[in-house]
Amino acid sequence: MSSQRVLPQSKETLLQSYNKRLKDDIRSILDNFTEIIKTAKVEDETQVSRATQAEQEHYEMHVRAANIVRAGESLMKLVSDLKQFLILNDFPSVNEAINHRNQQLHALQEECDKKLTNLRDEIAIDLYELEEEYYSSSTSLWDSSDMPLCEAFQRQDSLVSPEGISGSMGTARVGDSSGVGSQGSTPERLNGHGAGTSEHA
């Protein structure tokens, strides 16, 4: 509880110190510049010799010019400190920056996933056609227990439609003796894609 009281005080104190530094540096620049301009005025009556007076004014101008440069340097340091304080403590802009970055990353992620999904759909279509071609050719070496993707889709479509139930008998593959009769009891292995075991050797 006492630590929570300390933090706002230090923040207040820090911002007050920034204000003070700003006022002091601006005051220093204006005063020293004004004094240099006043010192540049040539006076006829001097208390010491003209050479001494000139030397004194010369030195004074040097010091005041150095003060102006020091105040400028201090202002630059103040601006740097304000930038750092702004980055760390300006919560509205930090929140906005975080939200903006999150939206960018989400958009990129969704675009990647969308393109991968499209790619998957296209490859599935090509795979369907390739399997249909492969399994219908006489030179294929497929196992009778394998169910190709095209066959699985046909079976799925026939199971969905009522008139397709009787039609599925006709579309059963020759040699696929295990498929139709026992399709309710034993799971078919989808040509290497499925994880189910085959009981039809």
């Binding site: 706002p8 601006i26 620049i29 204006l30 304000l82 702004l86 403590n89 992620q109």
Partner: protein
């Protein structure tokens, strides 16, 4: 919003440089035997304008920070979004790798020389 404030602070830094430049030019002009009055006027108005702009801008920034700052650390993060995006890019890279292997396999099988 954050970039606007930081950009305005960078402008203030340039203005501080202009302040010192103008002060030096005025004193340099006064050191000559014949002064150019119009140049002196221009430099002086630029000097005073820049000083007042620097002061008002920095005062405004300090006033805004007084209203906004809480003293607590900010605990927001973009880590989860970055991680999700990184995993999506990894998925894309993996898919690209596998398609490349598939393409090489097809080329190897279709190559008439082998």
């Amino acid at each position: 919003m954050a970039n606007d404030r930081l950009r305005s602070l960078e402008e203030v830094e340039k203005e501080i440089g202009v302040v010192l430049q103008c002060a030096g030019n005025i004193i340099l002009e006064l050191s000559k035997e014949k002064h150019n009055a119009s140049l002196l006027d221009r430099q002086l108005s630029q000097f005073t304008g820049c000083v007042s702009r620097v002061e008002s801008e920095l005062s405004g920034q300090i006033r805004y920070l007084t209203q906004v700052a809480t003293g607590q650390p900010h605990e927001g993060s973009t880590y989860s979004a970055r991680k999700d995006c990184q995993m999506a890019l990894n998925r894309v890279e993996y898919a690209r790798l596998k398609l490349g292997e598939l393409g090489q396999t097809c080329e190897r099988l279709l190559d008439p020389q082998t």
